[in-house]
Symmetry: C2
Subunit: 373 residues, 2 copies
């Protein structure tokens, strides 16, 4: 089916192309900032370092959405543009993480100080006036803000013509609103905790958060965005978009469920986060909601009391892990992950998309959901 | 020169058109949010109320930039589009203020609770888990974020064709980067305070902040943005853009200098802020920098010690006001305001722009700089 001469990229090559596009964009932005003031070199450097990592998942799905919808076949010359548009999603993600880390009080990110901590240190080292913490917060909020505007700037100037960018905008816009709505619902869910709702309600809420904050944002919308850039059709009810949705939504759920399992049972050496970190943060995941639904009185009491306790020690973490295993919640989530992944792969099989993209998307599905504990 | 049949709007009418455009946009966005979750009604309502006020200065300059460059003459049918694009700037401003209020710890905005305080109260009323303050912060950060993305969504979908929006994008993008850069420089300046630099450096920093955070953002760029939508030419070195810049930059400076004077000497009944609020916040304005430059040893000591003292009482405020008057800094700033305003009006006189726009822009210049103490 495919007539393109582009080879299917391996994942390392894709990451390199995405990083290259980001570097080019940041080089130009840094020139703009330097012209305003030398004091802006520091935030520019902070963003550059922040972006120098990550799995580039959203760009991967965006690029392969473009290829799936025949982008490379129609206009191979636009391969660079496709990578640039795809890479712009890393700026949205960076903005969200910079703000998230501050909101959650997470002090590290991939083993390095979070942005607000980096700027706290700058303040302290300068012996400046006012509290360090406040300066760190302001710098992180503003850096997240400028990064958010740079996402749409990079996307808009990716190299596609104005009409094509315009056609893809509805999906781009929806994706941004959805992820922020999902984040707010997540914050609300965490604040409400397990005490004020029935287990069924808690589960429904957790499912809504997963859908908007992860499934759509990480997989479905990036795929559809890439496809819209290929077809010039931003209507997400078209046949290609429907097919990508049938693959992307269950896969996105499975991906997040795997992440939730890792957040509770993951090895710090692999996850880069302390063991049981999600339990200390009190994250209201599907995993936790299923545990609450199935818990007996004593187990529920433990969940309610200890979940979200920032000072929880290793034995406290172990006790909560035991509840999650004992109630059968972990097994149930593993089943869900397997089911959703199969649904995604089945949808992929029947999707009317380019062959090469089909093969790569199948690979990506496995990679996204089978990460080891 | 003008062949348009549109009458020059009075300011009230302009505000009504801008509000109408915002209401229409928010109505559509609220439908999207409601479909995700009923829990999103509250943040949508918060934004709507937040936007229900303000002087609509940036939209006014954007709209009159469009008219100045012959927008109405070329395509009167796009009058609605021009108001919608202009109104989108209110979303950028709302996002900045929502984040600013949180960063500054300002608890009120136009006599109502700031957004983070509103959500703190929601948390408290719900008897939810975790600290109120943290929830308020997260809600304000996320609401500011979604509002920031809605700014470019509204601008992009204002009704101009894709090519024209694309042509105007470089100015739109630069405006956003500049204002955020200016805000960061402002935060840095406040942190560094008066102690670590020479008076000359302090003044230069304050002038840079004024240029990017106010003069360009509030007046020059909105004007040029409107003009680019009219001409389809986003190069800010073109003759119309140069003329609008020659008017907008000094006017923007004068506007901010007036604001700085009001922040120190303004009547709370008029400004809506406590008397001397800028002094308590330790704002590093041109006014303060000029006072520091001209101060004798005793005056400088007072400035260094009391500026930025959040607990400053009425007599403390009066003492600092006395320094600012006594050093001649207030007179110097008033002279600057007068000079800059005259420069702006002179540039306007020679600008090759539509007659009606010239008259309205002259009026706006007076309104922006002669607000009473």
């Amino acid at each position: 089916m495919s007539e393109t001469s582009l080879s299917p990229l391996d994942r390392r090559e894709l990451r390199a192309r995405v990083s290259h596009a980001l570097t080019g964009f940041l080089d130009r932005q840094e020139l703009v900032l330097r012209e305003i003031s030398a004091d802006l070199v520091e935030p520019a450097a902070a963003l550059r370092e922040f972006l120098d990592g990550g799995k580039r998942m959203r760009p991967a799905f965006c690029y392969w959405g473009w290829r799936a919808a025949g982008g490379a076949r129609a206009a191979e010359a636009l391969d660079d543009a496709a990578f640039t548009a795809a890479a712009s999603l890393e700026l949205l993600q960076a903005s969200a993480l910079i703000h998230d880390d501050y909101m959650d009080g997470s002090d590290t990110r991939r083993g390095k100080p979070a942005v607000h901590k980096r700027f706290e240190a700058l303040h302290a080292a300068g012996g400046w006036e006012g509290p360090d913490v406040r300066f760190g917060a302001a710098a992180a909020i503003l850096l997240g803000d400028i990064t958010l505007t740079w996402c749409d700037e990079m996307f808009t100037r990716s190299g596609f013509d104005a009409a094509r960018i315009h056609a893809a905008r509805p999906i781009f816009d929806l994706m941004r609103s959805e992820v922020m709505a999902g984040q707010y619902l997540d914050v609300i869910a965490q604040s409400r905790g397990l005490t004020v709702a029935s287990p069924r309600e808690i589960l429904e809420r957790a499912e809504t958060v997963i859908r908007y904050k992860s499934a759509k944002y990480t997989i479905e919308r990036p795929l559809q965005l890439g496809a819209a850039l290929a077809t010039g059709d931003g209507d997400d009810s078209g046949p290609v978009n429907q097919a990508l949705s049938a693959y992307g939504l269950p896969l996105g759920e499975a991906f997040q469920l795997r992440d939730d399992v890792l957040g509770v049972f993951g090895d710090p050496a692999t996850t880069g986060k302390p063991a049981g970190d999600d339990l200390r943060e009190g994250k209201q995941t599907v995993l936790v909601a299923l545990a609450a639904e199935r818990a007996d009185t004593e187990q529920l009491k433990l969940l309610r009391e200890d979940l979200g306790d920032a000072a929880l020690d290793a034995s406290g973490v172990a006790a909560l892990q035991e509840v999650i295993v004992g109630t059968g919640a972990l097994d149930a989530v593993e089943r869900r992950i397997a089911e959703r992944t199969e649904l995604a792969l089945a949808a992929l099989e029947h999707a009317q998309i380019e062959q090469e993209a089909r093969a790569v998307l199948a690979e990506l599905a496995i990679a996204a959901t089978s990460r080891q504990v």
